[in-house]
Symmetry: C2
Subunit: 234 residues, 2 copies
């Protein structure tokens, strides 16, 4: 496996190079994790396909929390600060990470973003820090970012077979959030029961929340999960 | 840029290693291209996010063509042969490429698949060869597979901002197929006009087809584009 991008291509780079790159990432991620833990911040790595609804989930969460928890975020995309701007408008202290053509975040990109003093202060004093990864159901799974938990966001519009076809990211998921359930009546080929079964086949410890960021249905369950994770971290 | 996976991370691998890997890929892609051209096969690299509707597009195309053109395909996913099985049922001679954890196809993976004598014969005698890439809006753009054209499939459910946030793949697109337009009435935040404008901002030579594989609306326009490309290649 090419652990540079999680692309599985061992022909491309020597095993030794791969190992040293990942071990450098792990060193930086451990450093980030120490900070998050000592600051009492729940750091979450939010992953999923482009358009799965990662930003919409965070917006809806901020609406339900209505200021009860202090939220901070970084939002990664190849280009634009659009997601960070949306989160700012929703009341989440946010900064963009534009990756150029990089298909995933790594610990050094997060670390570099935290060199910004305003973001760093906001994260240190936050209850939850959302690290919204690049939209990609493959590569982000490989890189530790110092997070406390991995959240995979999967929309019903992507179809029921995605967990089976892209199992790697689900193997590492602590929570799968199934989004856009308001669209189910208009998706003749999509059964929520089958989607759940397919997630169960590839997720080591099944934990699934189904919701619609548009209608707000199910979003309180995600907020409850956040509270439980915060309690467990104490 | 890390051209190993198109991940843009020049810190990771030396420029020389990147160049030699890409140049080896280009060599193999040129070899594939020679075969496709001499066999009179229109080879297309079909790219897009997981669940954008790549397989559904090819199924719907096969239905409209109803045997008029000979179709062959390879379908890439990290795991399972589900897509290739769907295409077989739609009358397309198909083979899966399971990439393990690789986030994109490269020329050697396509070349290796074509070592299968039955697939090789089917492709040589086909009118159109669909190379359905791994679901990923970032990395597949980097690797030449010997194709005649790049088709990017983008579903309206992914939102209007994806071309701006993931411009790299659109820079290389010869055609953008906007899918799932039957869902537009249920997507309050999605304007087809805005999506078109955003594609126009990042695509060098604008060519967009809008369709629904579910209802069949617009699919004949894709078939017409296939015919035009075949004519142009003669």
């Amino acid at each position: 496996m090419c652990e540079i991008c999680g692309c599985g291509d061992s022909r491309l780079v020597s095993i030794n190079v791969q190992r040293s790159l990942l071990s450098e990432n792990d060193r930086q991620a451990a450093h980030l994790r120490e900070h998050f833990i000592s600051d009492g911040v729940l750091a979450l790595n939010i992953m999923g396909s482009p358009g799965a609804g990662k930003t919409a989930l965070l917006e809806a969460t901020a609406r339900v929390l209505a200021g009860r928890l202090r939220l901070a975020a970084v939002s990664a995309d190849l280009a634009t600060a659009l997601d960070a701007e949306r989160l700012e408008r929703a009341g989440v202290f946010s900064a963009p990470i534009t990756t150029g053509s990089a298909c995933h975040l790594d610990a050094s990109l997060v670390h570099h973003a935290l060199h910004d003093a305003r973001l760093s202060r906001a994260v240190s004093s936050a209850d939850v820090f959302f690290i919204e990864n690049v939209g990609n159901l493959v590569c982000p799974a490989i890189y530790d970012l110092g997070q406390s938990a991995n959240v995979v966001v999967l929309s019903v519009t992507e179809g029921v077979d995605k967990p089976l076809k892209y199992p790697v990211i689900f193997h590492k998921a602590d929570l799968v959030v199934i989004t856009k359930i308001d669209l189910l009546p208009h998706l003749p080929g999509v059964s929520l029961a089958t989607l759940r079964e397919n997630v169960a086949r590839v997720m080591p410890k099944l934990q699934v929340i189904e919701l619609s960021a548009l209608t707000g249905a199910g979003v309180p369950n995600f907020v409850e999960w956040l509270d439980e994770r915060r309690q467990a971290a104490r």
